[in-house]
Each structure stands twice: as C-alpha cells, then as structure tokens.
Symmetry: C2
Subunit: 467 residues, 2 copies
C-alpha cells in the first residue's frame, strides 16, 4: 500500500472537492461535536462523504479505488457490533442524503426507497396509505433502510414476517469496482439466474454500498392491545404466543420476553410497579391487533383468562391507556439501562430454536456461575423467533479480563442446536472471534474468496467480518 498516497482528513476534503456535484463532503471541522452514535469510533475517520445520487456514490467509490482509500459505509449509526467503526485514513460513505421515498405502490403493498431513509420516516410516509413496514425495531428513529439491509435486521415482527432478506424485492448498489448493480424488481417471484443482491443483504458493507431498494410493506393495524404477563420460562411464553397466533380475530404483533433479573433491575431503576408479578417470574410482553381497540382488549383479556391456569401465568396486567402502553414498551425497548451500572457489560445477540431456549438460558447461568466473579446475565428478546439479547453484569470489577470465558459460556451449544451466535446485529468488529469459532470452515473459506473477488483491494469496510 506504500505506493499509494496517504490522506489526512483535510487532504480528503480538498481532493474530493468538485468530484461530483451531488457529493457533500464533511471534514473534521464539520464532524466535530457530532454524536458518533452507538459506537464511539464511528466518526474516527474524520471525513464523511454524503452522496445525493447513485452516480455521485459511484464517482466517490471509483475515486477511492484509484487512490486506494478504504470506505466505511454508514447509515443511522445505530449498529451494535462496531460495523461502522472507522479509523484515520478511511472515508465514511454516508447514506444521509439518499433520503427520498421514490414511490409508494399502495395497491401492490411495495415501496421504492433510497437507502438513507430511516425506518420511522418510512413508517410515517406509509401511514396515510394505511400501510406500514413489515419489519419494526426499537431503533426505528435512527436506523436506516440501507443499514437494516446491510445487517439483515430482524426486530419485533420477524417471527411473522421474516427478516429484511424476506422483505426486500429489489436492490441497487454501487460495487467496489464503482459499477452500479441494479436489480430493482418489484415482484416476489424471480428465478432469473443467481440472486446476487443476497450478498448485499447482510453483507455488512463488505460487498458494496446499497443505494436503493424495493421493499414489501403491509396493512397498518392500528387497533392494539398490550399486556405484561408473568411467566415461568420460555416454554410458557411460547405457549402463550402460540395460542395468540392461532386466534381467528387477533393478530399477534409482538411477543417480547424479559428474564427476572432484567425485569427486577429495570423496574427498580425506573420506578415501574411490578407488585402484580410473582417473585422470580419472567415477564412476557404481548401486543395484539384487532378490529377495534375495544375488541382487541376484550379478546386479549378473554384469552389471558383462559391461559391463566393453562400456561400457569404468574401475574398479568393489560394496558388501559396509550400512556401505559408506552411504559410497558419502555420496559422492553429502553434496554440499555444496565450500562449505567455496568458500562463495560459485554453484550450478545443470539438465536436458538424456540424449543431449546430454556435449556440454553439455564446452561448460560450455570456457565457464568462456573466462571465466578459474581457474573450474571441480563436476558431479554424476541421470544417467538428465539432471538435473545444478553448482557453480562458482574458484581465485582469489569468482566473484560474474562472475555474468552464469557464468550464460551454464551456461545456454548448454539451452533450444534441450530442457532446463531449473531441473530440480528451482525459480526462487525465485535463478533469476529465468534465468527471464526462458530461458522463452518468451508463457508468461511468461500466468504473470503468472494470478498477477494468482489473487493480485490479490500477497500470496503476493512477489518470487519474477518474475510
């Protein structure tokens, strides 16, 4: 690489000036004071380029290739595994100005949208058409569609609608060569040669920069009812979810479980009343939609009455107002509360086949106990698709010295059971060792070969997923 010039952030800003009229270049001064998002290293490159068109993105990428400059694609900076982290000498390629909703095909329930549109902005644009996205997640206000494509995001509705891979019909991207890859189909049935856009979906920015997509959407169901239920374990929670999924007049919109320590500590911190909950029970949040709010509420209450003994519920409370609904959801979605007490808590995002969840959580607790040091886990997640979020708390000093042992406890048995060490956050920087340890070697070798083929100079998001 020594034959190529190296650039300081100020050099970049000068060199890129005038490259394409649709490029906005933000140097160190413009970036100073900006919040870096979920990873403190997101803005470390010190220079960000915001194209407002596919052509401008292509011009920037071609320039980077000619000058051997590495590119870190960025969306809403809400990623949790360092997938957007950057270093000096790299250029941040942001989708911030690719923020147009190109077309809403209401009758077809599809939308064409640029990559930088946030999930929440898309939901707001769809609402007047009585439509919404088939994927929803807590960081909807900042997460962009392009970022969600790149991490194959899942969220709350995946148990019903699948993940981003199942929602994307068409996709356009700029490849590391600078070429534009265009496959903007608007149909679900396409058997027209290998479906190469699948490499960009979940590609974590390694194979190109996504500029726009065609996405499925679905009818909005505004009439909701929400309950918090005490449950003994995941099996009971799944029993509740299964019954609600089969209800002829209700649609299950969410089934989010929080294990006892998560509930206890979060409720104490926020002053949330859990006097209705039996001691040491976990909490399941369920949300259903129906023909009216009253119908949804009444039918949910009827179902819960029937489930009370059948699923051995340990308490339950149905929201009686939109304010109470919001507070129920805050208990689940404001999930970073533990970082206040444990700022270095290692966090994980795994998935397991639902029937294996209770054994997994029991094994995790036992594994952490074996390590000692007072280690304990906050466990919560999207129970109906087996996706658990886990944060490791320690009573004593920071658990960072115990990293390898903790990872062993968290990842134990996941692959053999048919689960995944990363469910919806990706690999990025933080899960590289797990990728190396748990992904089939033949698959790793093939991924490396593909990366070398598509990005031979290794300029796209270098150092992330270990290629």
């Amino acid at each position: 690489m020594s034959s190529h010039p190296t650039f300081s952030p100020h050099d970049f800003a000068r060199a890129l000036d005038g490259l394409h009229p649709d490029l906005r270049i933000l140097g160190p001064d413009a970036l100073a004071g900006r919040h870096p998002g979920e990873d403190p290293a997101n803005l470390n490159a010190g220079v960000m380029v915001q194209p407002a068109s596919t052509e401008a993105a292509s011009a920037l990428i071609s320039w980077c290739r000619a000058n051997h400059v590495a590119i870190v694609p960025q969306g809403g900076l809400s990623g949790l595994v360092g997938g957007g982290a950057s270093r000096a000498g790299e250029v941040l390629l942001s989708s911030a100005r690719l923020n147009r909703i190109i077309a809403i095909h209401a009758d077809e329930e599809t939308v064409e949208v640029e990559a930088g549109v946030t999930l929440e902005a898309l939901q707001a644009a769809l609402a007047p058409h009585d439509l919404t996205t088939g994927i929803d997640l807590g960081s909807r206000g900042s997460a962009t569609i392009g970022g969600m494509v790149s991490t194959n995001a899942g969220g709350i509705l995946a148990f019903r609608n699948g993940v981003m891979r199942h929602q994307i019909l068409g996709l356009e991207a700029v490849l590391p060569s600078g070429e534009v890859f265009s496959d903007m189909t608007r149909v679900v049935k396409v058997s027209a040669g290998p479906d190469l856009k699948q490499l960009l979906i979940g590609g974590e920015g390694a194979f190109g920069f996504v500029t726009k997509v065609v996405m499925k959407v679905e009818p909005i169901r505004p009439h909701r009812a929400v309950a918090l239920l005490g449950v003994e374990n995941a099996a009971r929670a799944l029993q509740v979810a299964a019954r609600l999924r089969r209800h002829p007049a209700l649609l299950l919109e969410a089934a989010e479980m929080m294990w006892p320590r998560y509930v206890r500590d979060h409720a104490a911190l926020k002053g949330f009343d859990i006097s209705w909950l039996e001691a040491d029970a976990a909490v399941l949040l369920v949300e259903v939609s129906g023909e009216t709010i009253e119908a949804a509420t009444t039918l949910l209450e009827d179902e819960l009455a029937a489930l009370w003994d059948e699923a051995d519920l340990k308490g339950g409370i149905v929201a009686q107002s939109s304010d109470q609904t919001r507070r129920f959801w805050d208990l689940r979605e404001d999930s970073g509360f533990y970082f206040a007490e444990f700022p270095n808590a290692p966090s994980f995002d795994v998935s397991m086949p639902p029937s294996a969840l209770d054994a997994y959580v029991a094994g995790l607790s036992a594994g952490l106990a074996t390590i000692g040091n007072g280690l304990d886990a906050y466990v919560y997640g999207h129970i109906a698709d087996g996706n658990l979020h886990i944060a490791i708390a320690a009573a004593g000093p920071s658990p960072s010295d115990l990293k390898a042992l903790i990872e062993e406890a968290v990842y134990h048995g996941i692959t053999a059971s048919g689960g995944s060490f990363s469910a919806e956050h990706g690999v990025g920087l933080d899960k590289r060792s797990a990728y190396l340890a748990h992904v089939d070697p033949a698959k790793q070798a093939l991924a490396r070969q593909l990366k070398s083929l598509i990005d031979p100079d290794m300029l796209f998001n270098p150092g992330k997923v270990p290629f």
Copy 2:
C-alpha cells in the same frame, strides 16, 4: 480438456464401481426405458449416480473433479426450462436416494429434510402433525425439495408466503470442490456473515449439489371452499383477491387466473361446463380456508355476493363437492393441454407487478398480432403475485421460425416495469437468450466471476444459465 480421459456411459459405470458404498450407479441399461421427465434430454448422459449420503455425493464430486467429468444435478425431472438436460460424457447426480425426512419439529413449525424428498411426500409426512408446506405447486408429486431450492420455486402460495428462498432456514450442499458446505440453522434470524447458502437457492445446480435443508412449515388448514369466477381482467381479479385476503375469518389459499382463450379451449377439450360464464370473460379460481368447510363455503358465498356488482363479476360457481373441487383445479393445473394441438408452442413464465398486468397482456396480444401468422397466447397463472404462464399458439405452421420475434413480444417492457422474464422456472437452457438480453450487465459479469470462482473447471451443470 483433451488431456483428460473421456468416458462412455459404460466406462463410467465401471470406473465408479466401488467408489463409495452409498453410491448406486445406473448405467445405460438401467436407464433404458425410463421416462425422461419434462425434458426429453434429461437422461441423455446415459449414466446416473444416486448417492444415499452427503459423504457419497462428496466422493462422487471429488472423483468427477479429478477426472474432469461434468455433473448435471437432478431432482424430480419436472423442470420446464431444460435445467436438467444432459449430454453424453456427463454424469447425472440424482437426489433420488436422499429421501429421508430427518426431523419434524412440530412445535417450531420447521422440518429437516433431505433434498430428494418430493413435495407431496413431505406434505404427507407433515399431515399427522397438522402441518403442511408453505409452498405448493402443481407438480408436487414429482418435484423434489432440492429441485425446488435450486429453481427457487414459487407456486400457488407465494403471494402469501414468498418463494423457496423465504422458506429455507438452513442448507447443506456439496460444493464443486467436493467440500461439504454446512449451514443447517433452524432459526429465522441469522446475521452471521454473508449468507452464502443464498447462492445455492435459485442457483440451478451451478454452484453445488444441495443435500439437505431446514424448511419452515405451517399449520394445515383442511377446511376449504373453492370457486370459479368470471372476471373482466386482472385488475378485477386482484380486487377479489384483495378483499378475500382481508377477510377476518377466511384465509386466501389460492388466486389463479386463466385468460379467455385458455378457459375456452381447455373447457372444450375436457367437456367442462362453462355455460355459467359470460362470453369472453376470464376465470379466477379462488380457494379459501375457514374454521369448517361449511363456514368457509358460506362466508365465501357471502363475499362473492358482495363482490358481484362491486367487482363486476361475469359469472361464478362455488364447488359443492370434493369431486367438483378437483375438476375446478384440473382446469388450472392440467395446463399442458395445449401441447396436444400445438406441440411446439413456445412457453414462458414471467412476473409483473400486479398493477401492470392488464397493460402487459394487452401489449402481448398486440405484439403477437403485429407478427401475424395467426399467433395467439394462452395466458394463466398465479395472479396475486403477478406470475403469468404463457404459451404461444399459432393457427398456421410451427412458430419456431418466429422465435426471436415472439420473445420480443413476450419480454417487452418486463424489466423496465420491475418484473422478471423468468418468475419461477429458472433460466436453464431455454431462457439463456432472455437472460443475456434482460439481466443487468453488471449482474451478469458478477455471476460469471462467481461461477469461475466456485466452479473453476465449469463442471456443474455446464451450458445452463450462461455464465
């Protein structure tokens, strides 16, 4: 390639004898008299190898690689684009003995299954668990799961459940290198590096031999009602389908449309009574499920009464017996009837965004009229996902001389409208010119590079999708 030995089918049978105990080798004598399936060239290679294990498939593929022998993967031989066609000097690699249903996880609604299991056999095995596949298609008796993966099959339920790509959670395959690629996850949420199994799904046998998969399944809904409805056009059919999809107590199971000439000629051939249908109307077959057969029938009749004026129905008839239901479905599924009169009828399988369907069909008719020669089209298909099957009939001589002109008329405007020149059948041999003409050149170039990387000797299904 001249430095490699060439084998006759008898040579193969001898050379492969004893390679692995789980390999069955069928030479020309054993294959003589076998029906070749949908393509007369399927068995032309004259030698078929049937592994009963992944290891045996790997041994065969490694041997082929060492001896530079081309491999044609085959499933149920029901493909319609020559994707399994073979030539002397090649070896057929059949999934026929990979026919085990490994595990049914009823509570999770997933199944682990080997590639050679037919769709119908899987449906039969699931039925005692009150489950069925989320994909269904007319050739269910012969189509195998592996073949359906390789063509990314769609069928009747794709409007609701997506295509095979959306149903497959995990996959194992033997790569052209002979290595086993294993990604048998049983969860929907996986963001653990690039999802390379997506290359095998819809890969038409170019990137390896699929040996087993994990598939989503769904509750069986046995209580059905079926109707045939006269409709003016696709817009009206979609109006009916949209209303039934939103019914709170019915689930739409199928929406299959047949344009007027298809209905008229097929009904005449089979002696099917269409006296209830207004002249020159198209026919929409709808199937719904409900809590009981009686409820499904009554609710469907109520909906159709409301739709009669609203959707300007041109006649309608609700099946009153299982025998009548079967005859309704035969009208749609026994779709090859036109080959009796037009044995060389070029046939196509395209998809269009639903709102563009009527303009497309009108343009097709106009295009064929411009060519002259009495050309006309049989049009039918899965209307709710915009998938049309098209066969070109000519009153005069065979239309084979007019191939280029006919393809121009059929494919006109499809890509620009966001549709696909191949919806669910694949590219194979027959759609190669359409692939070259209609797929984005950057995508074609990338596909060629991937093929060279994964199968550098071009031994897997050579000559199909033009790599």
